[in-house]
Structure formats: C-alpha cells, structure tokens
C-alpha cells in the first residue's frame, strides 16, 4: 500500500506544482498563449451549449467572451472545456482552465475552502422541480414518496435533501453523473421528478421530446446566485472577470448597446459614458488592459440585456422572463458599481 500512497502524493504534487505556476499571474499567461481557456457545461441550452458546428453560445459562454473582448479586443479568442459538475472545481484548481463559467452557485463553502473566488453573479436563480403534467401534482408538498433524478456534484443534491428533510417527506434519490443522463433517466420514467435550478429546468425541458407534457412546480427551494469563478489569490484576474460583467450591466443601464456603442463613443458628452468607453482617461490601465476594454466588450458581446435576450429570453427555446435578473431600476436586483 505504501507505494500506492506515494504514487498519489507524487501525482498530486506534480499537478499542484503546475497549477501554482499558472495561478501566479493569469493575465500574463493568457496574453502569452493568446486565448482564454473557459470551463463550461456539457450542454445546458441558453447557458453554455455547442451547436452542430461546434460553436458555443449561452450566457456563461458570453461571460468568457466578454473577458476575451476586454483583453484581446476579440470575443472569439476563447477555447472551451466542457466539464461535468463534479470535474469543474478540480479543473480550475489545477489550472486547466482560466475561468469557470458553468452555472455555478456561489456558496460559503465553495468560496472559502476550495481555493477559489467567486467574481460576481451573472444569473440569479433558484432550485425547482419538474414533473410530468399527467402525474397530477400541483405543489412540491405533494411529492411524498416520489423518486427524484438529479445531476451529481451540485448544490442541487444538498438542497433537495434539505427540502425533503425539512418537510419530512420520503423520497428516493437517483443521482446521475452527468446532467444529460439524469434527464434521460427522468425521460425514461425512472423518476417522477427532475430537479435542478429553474433556469436549468427550462433549458432541459426544451430538450425533451414533448416539452408541453412537463411542468415546473411553483416552489423555489433555494437561492442560487450563478456566476464565473476564478482561482483564489490572483486579484487582478478576479477584477478583470468581475468588471467585464459590471461593464455589461452598466452599459444596459446607460442605454449603450452593441448597435449604438460606436455612435455614442463618438458623440456622447456625458463624462461617465466617455470614461466607460475610453473616450476620456484610461480606465483600463488599472486592470492591465487598454482604454478600449469596455468599448470592446459592448461592441463584441453587447450589454447584459442583449446577452439575456439572445440566449435565454422569451424569444428563445428556453424562454425565461427577466424576473429578478433585471436592472435595479426595472425592479430586478442587477446593480453594478459605477465605473469611475
């Protein structure tokens, strides 16, 4: 057994040696290799999903594209690593990816004990339940004795357990390694209920053969603030990822979109807009970026509203309403610090 332990330690040590090299200054690394390595899901429509040609789209994909636009002025300089829920943190810790943008819930434990930092929230979500309509279930309280399918390695697993314990309901957990197989198990009738974040439920429902036969129950059993994650200890890199998103939210608030950004930069007299778009001063310098960083994000990727409508809005197959993911001025909770 001794030799086995030795092997583990040495393998791990090599991995750790490599990762510490990458953790030092991610921005320099990224500039040197010329692209961002972005960890995404294995396919959640609207969040991160690859089409037949291998092009990635989704809110989480756009979070990485915004960072690429800020650094390189080119939103296409991103390479994607599809990760299962259970692989994602190890991939980031080991330096395999630079940013983890994979509908990941910000929790205390994850922020404090995994050696990771959550940047900010790009989607406010909550966990829900999906059932077949013909089951005749109206609320989650009716689920006593039900069989529940979910993906492994998520907060979902724990929330589900907490919910059923709290309400003293019996249930049978079927926890599958990958989201797609968990959905297949639900679709095949192994489970009565499929549970994940509500946005994910809407996305997964659109993948089922007959989406109209399934309904999402009204209860939201948890808070799930989803957002990009970076390694702990590289503050500059964390700032870049955080502010790339803040820029998009501020842009929507100021009415700047990918269509009018060139025009506004040329003609605006509003100093806060001029500062943001780099027409005045050099805001990007503090991040190690050039003055056009924010302009590039908006021109290449768009403001937050555009990203939302394009990927998960009411006109997409996922079809989510803005809800809480609206600007604070519109009754939502999106409130980005000012760029000044």
């Amino acid at each position: 057994m001794k030799s086995n332990v030795g092997k583990i330690l040495s393998t791990a040590a090599i991995a750790a040696t490599i990762s510490s090299g990458a953790a030092a200054a991610t921005l320099d690394d990224v500039k040197e290799k010329g692209f961002i390595q972005c960890g995404v899901s294995q396919g959640v429509p609207g969040f991160s999903n690859a089409d037949n040609a291998g092009n990635w789209t989704g809110i989480d994909v756009d979070a990485c594209r915004a960072v690429a636009a800020a650094i390189f002025g080119d939103a296409q300089k991103v390479k994607f690593t599809p990760l299962s829920a259970k692989e994602r943190f190890t991939a980031l810790q080991s330096g395999e990816i630079d940013v983890l943008s994979r509908n990941t819930t910000w929790t205390y434990t994850r922020d404090t004990s995994l050696g990771l930092d959550f940047t900010t929230t790009n989607f406010y979500d909550g966990q829900g339940f999906m059932v077949r309509k013909d089951l005749g279930v109206e609320t989650a309280m009716d689920l006593d004795g039900a069989t529940v399918c979910t993906e492994q390695g998520t907060t979902t697993e724990l929330n589900m357990a907490d919910f059923f314990r709290k309400h003293q309901l019996d249930y049978v957990p079927v926890i599958v390694q990958k989201a797609d197989e968990a959905l297949s198990a639900y679709a095949s009738g192994r489970c009565d209920v499929f549970t994940t974040d509500k946005s994910g439920l809407a996305a997964h429902r659109s993948k089922l053969s007959d989406p109209a036969a399934h309904m999402i129950l009204p209860e939201t059993i948890s808070k799930e603030p989803l957002g990009p994650v970076v390694r702990h200890g590289d503050n500059q890199w964390k700032d870049i990822v955080t502010w790339s998103l803040f820029v998009q939210i501020n842009a929507e608030e100021m009415g700047i979109s990918s269509e009018n950004v060139a025009d506004i930069k040329a003609n605006s007299t509003d100093p806060s807009v001029r500062r943001l778009l780099g027409a005045e001063g050099s805001m990007g310098e503090a991040l190690g970026l050039d003055a056009n960083w924010a302009y590039n994000i908006i021109a290449e990727v768009g403001n937050y509203g555009e990203v939302f409508e394009r990927n998960v809005g009411p006109d997409t197959p996922v079809g989510l309403p803005r809800g809480v993911n609206n600007l604070w001025t519109e009754g939502g909770v999106l409130y980005a610090p000012p760029v000044r």
Binding site: L9, A13, T90, G115, E157, L158, Y171, V176, A185
Partner: protein
C-alpha cells in the same frame, strides 16, 4: 550497493520534495487539507445503503456505505460472471451445433462492445421497456416496474433463532456426513450418496426447526402507492443494470479462458479415463477439470481484478459506489481532491490485492504437487 543506496536516497528526497511542495501549494491556494472532513455531516442522500444512513450522517459513514456497495457489486459480479463464464465456455465446446454457435455469438458480441455502452444499454433500454409503477407487472406478491423489482420483505419474529440454530446444526451434520463418506470411500471403495442426503438433511431439519418455532416470520408485502411502490424489498434498476453488465461482459472473457483451459488437457487423458471405465461426467470432474483449472486460474484472477475495478463505471448510471459517492459528491462538496482520490485508490488497491491474494492461495492449492 553504493549505487543502490544513493538511488534510494534520491528517490526519498524527491518524494519529500514533492510532498513538501504539495503542502505549500495547497496552503498558498487556500485549499483545505487533511481528513477532518470525514466527521462533517454529509448532507446528501444515497440511493442504496446496506447499513443505516441518512443525510445527517458524516462523510465518513457515506464512504463506508459506498465501500460496501462497491464490495457487494464486485463480489456478486465475480460469482455471477464465473457461473456464466463456465456455462458459456462449456457451451462453446458443445457437440450440439446450435448451442456452440449461440455461445460463440454471445462471447464475440459481448467481448467486443465497450462495457460503459453495455451499462447504458441495460439501464436505459431495459428501463424504457418496463411499465410505470401504476401498471406494474404483477407475479404473485412480486411487482416489476421501472423503479425496480419489488418482493415481500421478511420480518423475523421471536423464535427465529431456533430456525437459524436448526439450519446451522443441519449444515454441520451435512459436513460431517460428507467427510465420513469420503473416508469410507477411501477405505472400502464404496461411495455413499452423501451430497444428496446432506441436501435432504439441511432441508428437512431446517423446516422442522422452523415448524417447531411456529413459523416465526411475517412478510411485509409491496403495495402500490401514489408514485412508487411502498413496503417490501426492492432491487433497484441501477443495481441490476450494473450487475448484469459486469457479469455478462466479464463472463464472456471467462468463457474463453475456460474453453482454453479445457482444450489444454490432451485428448489422451479422456481416452485413458474412458478405457478405465469412468463415465463421461466423472471423466470431466475427476480428470479434465482439475487439470484445466491449473491453466484457468491465473488468467481468471486478472478477470476478477478487472471486474472489481470496472465496477467504478456504475457511477455513470447512478449506482452509488465509491467513485460516485466519494470522488463525485464528496469531492465536489469538500473540494479535497487529493484526500478523496487517495481514499479511493487505497480502497481499490486493497480490494484488488485481497482478490489477488485469495486467488494466489487457490492457485497454489490446485497446482500440481510434485513428488
């Protein structure tokens, strides 16, 4: 000698350097280390647990639950794969054209399809074919549906100990009878039908013990409830799918090993046995199989080891074994990759070495004793 000492020192120093580096890097990155997490409450459910387990139990207990699940599926898989392998191996050698061809088709198909694919097949294809719990297939008190196979659950009442004692007593009597019969055969050459009579003793004595105690058993019958079936015992599809996939896949390899072993015994042996007047069944049992076993056991050990390790694929179809529970959920909740993966490696190492040691002992026992 000097060179070896220097090399040893270098290896140890390098190992220490790596270990030290690992500690320093983990600390730099703010990743928790150590095994203290094993005492923390786990908070997640596990589908199959043979010992009591709830979400409030610790990660340590979840680990034990997973360890038991892995061991159970491995051992049951090994037994079933051996049975399938021996039958299929003999079938492929059969004089009957149809039986031999069917065995060939089985072996060649199963050996050449990746195991993971077979697991998905058993899980999803079979699930799709079964009915919803509301329309369960009923066979007496047994129910079959997408959620599993439900059977009556025996509840042991007072006095069950008498029945158990009778059973143990019967087994001891049977063993004594077989030993006596063998001794007598050596002495006189006359065989007493000890196997059949001992089976009779076990059945009759156990039944008598049972009757004496007044049939101290009640059955909790499965009932259809709103969503599932409640009560009774259940064999969930995840377990059945993993067991079937592992045993049929490994069984195909074992079949070929058995065939090779039997073919390795020269035909002259069989002819010699026949000319001594031994019946065909005795020829097989006393002459061919003992010699074939010597060829079969070493490669068979490898197949057993493969099966134990392949059980980790069960994680893909929700069977809560070690990889799923420890390297999946526990790793994800605690983020302690090195500790959890280390634990899993330790377990697979131990499990494989135990199987290996047992098979080596058996191999030694069966090997040719030279005079």
């Amino acid at each position: 000698m000097l060179f070896q000492a220097v090399l040893l020192i270098l290896v140890v120093a390098f190992g220490y350097y790596l270990f030290h580096n690992l500690q320093a890097n983990l600390q730099d990155q703010g990743i928790s280390t150590g095994f203290a997490f094993l005492n923390e409450p786990a908070g997640f459910p596990i589908l199959i647990h043979l010992i009591d387990y709830t979400e409030a139990n610790s990660y340590g207990r979840a680990f034990v639950v997973a360890l038991i699940n892995t061991t159970v599926i491995s051992l049951m898989g090994i037994v079933l794969a051996t049975v399938i392998g021996v039958i299929m191996g003999l079938a492929r050698l059969s004089q009957n054209w149809l039986v031999a061809r069917l065995a060939t088709v089985y072996i060649e198909t199963l050996r050449n399809i990746p195991l993971l694919l077979q697991m998905f097949f058993w899980y999803f294809a079979v699930l799709a074919a079964l009915p919803h719990p509301r329309n369960s297939i009923e066979m007496g008190d047994f129910l079959l549906n997408k959620r599993g196979i439900y059977s009556p659950n025996p509840n042991f009442q007072d006095g069950f100990g008498i029945a158990v004692a009778a059973f143990v007593l019967a087994i001891m009597a049977a063993i004594a009878l077989i030993v006596w019969a063998k001794k007598r055969q050596k002495r006189t050459g006359v065989w007493f039908p000890a196997y059949w009579s001992s089976l009779g003793i076990i059945v009759v004595v156990t039944f008598l013990g049972f009757a004496l105690a007044g049939f101290p058993i009640e059955f909790d019958l499965p009932q259809k409830s709103r969503f599932n079936v409640s009560g009774g015992m259940v064999l969930v599809p995840e377990f059945v799918a993993v067991l079937l996939a592992l045993s049929t896949y490994t069984g195909a390899f074992i079949a070929e090993i058995v065939r090779a072993g039997i073919l390795s015994v020269s035909w002259g042996q069989t002819e010699a046995a026949r000319s001594l007047g031994l019946r065909d069944s005795l020829t097989q049992r006393l002459i061919v199989l003992p010699q074939a076993l010597r060829v079969i056991i070493p490669p068979l050990t490898s197949q057993y080891l493969n099966l134990a390790k392949n059980s980790s694929l069960g994680a893909a179809i929700a069977y809560p074994e070690l990889v799923a529970v420890v390297m999946g959920t526990t790793l994800n909740q605690t983020g302690q990759a090195i500790e959890t993966i280390g634990l899993c490696m330790l377990v697979y190492g131990t499990l494989s070495l135990s199987i290996s040691m047992f098979m080596n002992w058996y191999n030694k026992k069966m090997s040719l004793i030279e005079r």
